[in-house]
C-alpha cells in the first residue's frame, strides 16, 4: 500500500519552499501538502509584519498607546522570545527590527549616527510588557517581529501536522530551514547540502539527516560591500551594526525553531559564538571569516 515520495514546491514567507513526503498516491500527497501549506500560510498571515491586519502589526501600531490582547499561541511565542533573549544574553531581541530602517542593502552606504541613534533607543526587550491584558510596547515607534524564528516555527508546525497525519518519510524545507519527518523510503538518511557562503552555485558540505532539523544562518543573503568590508543583514541590537566573524553557521537540532535560534545566536555572538555552539550540545558546521570550517558531529 505504501508509498512513494511526492514533491511539491511553493512560495511562502518570501522564500522558495519545498515539501517531500511519502504517500500512497498523488491525490493523498496533494491533500497532505495542501494542509501543510495552509498551516505555513496561516502563520505567515497571522504574524507577518508586512500585513497591517496581523497581530504583530496591531501590536506595533498600538506601541506607546495600549496593550493588544493576544491568544495563547502568540503568548507562547512571546515567552519563547523572552527565553531567547535570556539565552543570548540580550543579543537576540525581537524589538531590534526597527534598525533595518537605517540599512538599505541595495545601496552600499553606512547609516549616519543621527539616523541610527534614535532607532537604537527604540530597541529593548525590557520595554515590552506581556501581561494579562496582552502585549504592550512602552514606547511609540517600537516594533516587534517574529522574523527571527517564524519560518522555523512554521516548518516545525507543518511537519508536526504531517506526522500527525501519519506521514513517516520526508521533510519540510522553508527557504533552507528544514524540518525532517523521517528518512527516505529505504530507511537511509537524506543527504543535505550546505551552501557555500561565497559561491551561490556550489555546495561546500553535505550531511546525512533523517530526523530533527537543519537550519543555516549566513552573511550572504542580504549584504553590501564597502571598502573591502562586508555588511550583512544580521544586526547587533546594541550597536545597530552588522555582525562579523561568521560567514555561515548551520545547526542540527531536534526542532527547527531551536536550530534556527542557535545558529542566529552564534552569528550574533561573533567570536564567542563558537563557545556557545560547543556548549549547546547540538551538531554544527560553521565557516569563519577566514573561510575555515569548524564542525562537530556531522
Amino acid at each position: 500500500m505504501i508509498d512513494a515520495i511526492h514533491r511539491k514546491t511553493f512560495e511562502a514567507m518570501a522564500s522558495r519552499c519545498e515539501i517531500k513526503l511519502s504517500a500512497p498516491d498523488a491525490l493523498t500527497a496533494d491533500v497532505l501538502v495542501r494542509q501543510a501549506i495552509e498551516e505555513v500560510q496561516r502563520i505567515e498571515t497571522k504574524y507577518s509584519r508586512y500585513r497591517p491586519d496581523s497581530i504583530v502589526s496591531r501590536i506595533n501600531a498600538a506601541a506607546g498607546r495600549s496593550a493588544v490582547e493576544c491568544d495563547s499561541e502568540t503568548g507562547a511565542l512571546m515567552a519563547y522570545a523572552d527565553a531567547l533573549h535570556g539565552a543570548s544574553e540580550g543579543l537576540f531581541d525581537i524589538t531590534s527590527g526597527v534598525l533595518r530602517r537605517a540599512w538599505d542593502f541595495r545601496h552600499p552606504q553606512l547609516p549616519k549616527a543621527d539616523v541610527l541613534e534614535p532607532l537604537l533607543a527604540l530597541v529593548g526587550w525590557h520595554k515590552v510588557d506581556c501581561g494579562s491584558d496582552g502585549v504592550f510596547l512602552q514606547q511609540a515607534g517600537m516594533e516587534i517581529d517574529f522574523g527571527g524564528f517564524g519560518k522555523e516555527y512554521a516548518a516545525d508546525r507543518a511537519a508536526a501536522l504531517l506526522i500527525d497525519a501519519g506521514v513517516r518519510h520526508g521533510y519540510v524545507n522553508l527557504g533552507g530551514d528544514m524540518r525532517f519527518i523521517g528518512p527516505q523510503m529505504n530507511g537511509r538518511p537524506w543527504s543535505i547540502g550546505i551552501q557555500d557562503p561565497r559561491d551561490p552555485e556550489s555546495v561546500m558540505a553535505s550531511i546525512p539527516v533523517s530526523q530533527g532539523a537543519l537550519t543555516t544562518s549566513g552573511d550572504y543573503e542580504r549584504y553590501f560591500e564597502l571598502d573591502g568590508e562586508r555588511y550583512c543583514h544580521i544586526l547587533n541590537p546594541r550597536t545597530g551594526m552588522p555582525v562579523r566573524f561568521w560567514r555561515s553557521v548551520s545547526v542540527l537540532a531536534p526542532m527547527a525553531i531551536a536550530a534556527g535560534s542557535c545558529s542566529t545566536i552564534a552569528m550574533l555572538k561573533q567570536e564567542d559564538g563558537l563557545n556557545f555552539l560547543n556548549a549547546s550540545d547540538m551538531a554544527y558546521l560553521a565557516v569563519n571569516d577566514q573561510g575555515q570550517m569548524l564542525y562537530r558531529d556531522i
Binding site: S72, E73, A76, L77, A79, Y80, A83, L84, G86, A87, S88, E89, Y153, D156, R157, A159, A160, L161, I163, D164, V167, R168, H169, F180, I181, G182, P183, G187, P189, P208, V209, S210, Q211, G212, A213, L252, A253, P254, M255, I257, A258, S261, C262, I265, N275, F276, A279, S280, D281, M282, A283, D297
Partner: protein
C-alpha cells in the same frame, strides 16, 4: 582569562540548553512522537494489579502509562516516560495473621528523561528521574555506556547511578530522613551462534540511610545495606519452529543476610496469522534477613508479640525479609494486527509460601500471598 572562561562554560551550557527547553513549550510542535527510523516503539499499556491474602483485597494499582523512545537528528535520542499512579488500598498487614490494616492513599507522580548519544560502536546514556509521593521524594541520576566489539558480536556495558531519597512519613516516626545509594553495573552480551545469545550482568548497590519501614512498629533495620546481583541469561532461537526460549538465573545477596535465587523460563511460539503464545514459569527462593523475627502467637496476649530482641537491636517483621519460596505462572498471547500494530494480553498468577523455600526451612507463621495480574498492551511499531 582562564578563570573567566571556566566560569562561563557551564553558564553557556545552561543558556544553550534553555533554548531547547523553551522550544518544547511551544504549542503544536512535536519532538518525541515523531518517526524514529527503523525501530522506534511507542506503547500504551494498562496494568491491573491485584494481590490478596486470605480473601482480603489489599492493593490495587491502575497505571495508564505511555512511553516513547525516538532517535532525533541522527546522533541524539530523547526518551521519556511519565507515569501517574493512583494507589488506593490497605497497606500490607503487620504479619498477615493480625488485622489492623491502615488505609493508604498515595498519589504518585513520577517522570524520567534520558539522553542517549550514539557512536559508531557504542552509546552513552545520561538519565535523570524524579518521583514524589506526599511522604517520599526520590531523585536519581545515572550514566551508562556500552561498547561493541568490531565484529558486533560482543557488547560490554558499564554504568553508575546515584539515588537520593527523602522520607517524611505522615506519622512522624521520623522526620526528614534520607537514604542515599550508589549503584554500579557491569555486563557483557555475547552472540554465541546464529541462534544463541548470552548475557552476564553484575550489579552492586551501596546504600546508606533510612531503610526501615516507618509504617511498621518494631521495624529497625541497619543504616547501611550493600546488595549484589548476578544475572545470567540465555536466549535460544529454534529455527525449525520459529520459537524462542529465554532462560535466566539470578543470584541475589545482601548485607541484611538475604540470599535469593531466581530461575526463569519463557517460551515464545509464533502461530499462524500473526498470533503467538508465550508461557512463562518463574521459581524464586530466598533466606530470611538476619534480623527478621518470626511471629509468635501468645494464647493470652494475642498475636503476635514480637520478642524482637536479638542483641543487635535490629528487627523487622516485614514479610519481604522473611524466608520463603514463590512460583509465578504466566501466559502471554499476542496478535500482530498489521505491519505496525500489535496487541497483547498477559495473565499471571503468583503465589508465595514460607514452606516453599528451597534448601532450608522457610519462615513459619505466614499466610500464603497470592497475586494475579492481567496486563493489556497495544503497541505500534514504525
Amino acid at each position: 582569562m582562564t578563570s573567566c572562561d571556566n566560569n562561563q562554560q557551564p553558564n553557556q551550557q545552561a543558556l544553550a540548553a534553555s533554548i531547547l527547553a523553551a522550544a518544547l513549550l511551544l504549542p503544536g510542535l512535536q519532538v518525541h512522537a515523531e518517526t524514529p527510523p527503523a525501530n522506534g516503539v511507542i506503547s500504551l499499556g494498562y496494568l491491573d494489579y491485584r494481590d490478596s491474602q486470605s480473601g482480603l483485597d489489599r492493593i490495587r494499582v491502575h497505571a495508564p502509562s505511555i512511553s516513547v523512545m525516538a532517535p532525533i537528528a541522527g546522533v541524539w535520542s530523547v526518551s521519556g516516560s511519565v507515569v501517574v499512579d493512583d494507589v488506593s488500598g490497605a497497606s500490607p498487614r503487620y504479619h498477615t495473621a493480625i488485622s489492623g490494616a491502615s488505609h493508604m492513599d498515595d498519589n504518585r507522580k513520577a517522570g524520567d528523561a534520558s539522553l542517549t548519544r550514539y557512536f559508531d560502536r557504542g552509546t552513552l546514556t545520561v538519565g535523570g528521574a524524579y518521583s514524589t509521593e506526599h511522604d517520599y521524594v526520590s531523585r536519581a541520576l545515572s550514566l551508562q555506556g556500552s561498547v561493541e566489539s568490531e565484529s558486533h558480536n560482543t557488547t560490554w556495558t558499564a554504568g553508575i547511578g546515584h539515588a537520593d531519597d527523602r522520607i517524611d512519613p505522615v506519622n512522624h516516626v521520623v522526620t526528614n530522613e534520607r537514604k542515599r545509594s550508589t549503584n554500579f553495573l557491569l555486563g557483557v552480551t555475547q552472540v554465541l551462534t546464529t541462534n544463541d545469545i548470552g548475557q552476564l550482568t553484575l550489579t552492586h548497590d551501596e546504600g546508606e540511610g533510612y531503610f526501615s519501614d516507618p509504617y511498621k512498629t518494631f521495624d529497625n533495620r541497619p543504616r547501611s545495606r550493600s546488595e549484589s546481583t548476578l544475572l545470567a541469561r540465555w536466549n535460544h532461537h529454534i529455527a525449525s519452529t520459529g520459537a524462542t526460549s529465554r532462560l535466566s538465573y539470578r543470584y541475589y545477596h545482601d548485607s541484611f543476610g538475604v540470599r535469593g535465587h531466581t530461575l526463569g523460563g519463557e517460551y515464545v511460539q509464533p502461530l499462524s496469522q500473526g498470533w503467538s503464545v508465550a508461557p512463562e514459569l518463574r521459581l524464586y527462593t530466598q533466606s530470611a534477613a538476619s534480623f527478621y523475627y518470626d511471629p509468635i502467637y501468645d494464647a493470652r496476649l494475642g498475636a503476635p508479640f514480637p520478642p524482637g530482641y536479638n542483641g543487635s537491636g535490629y528487627m523487622s517483621a516485614d514479610q519481604r525479609l522473611s524466608g520463603f519460596g514463590a512460583v509465578t505462572l504466566g501466559l502471554k498471547v499476542s496478535k500482530q494486527l498489521d505491519k505496525l500494530w500489535s496487541v497483547d494480553v498477559k495473565a499471571s498468577a503468583y503465589q508465595q509460601r514460607g514452606s516453599w523455600r528451597l534448601f532450608h526451612e522457610g519462615s513459619p507463621g505466614l499466610e500464603a500471598l497470592r497475586a494475579q495480574t492481567i496486563q493489556i498492551a497495544v503497541n505500534r511499531q514504525w
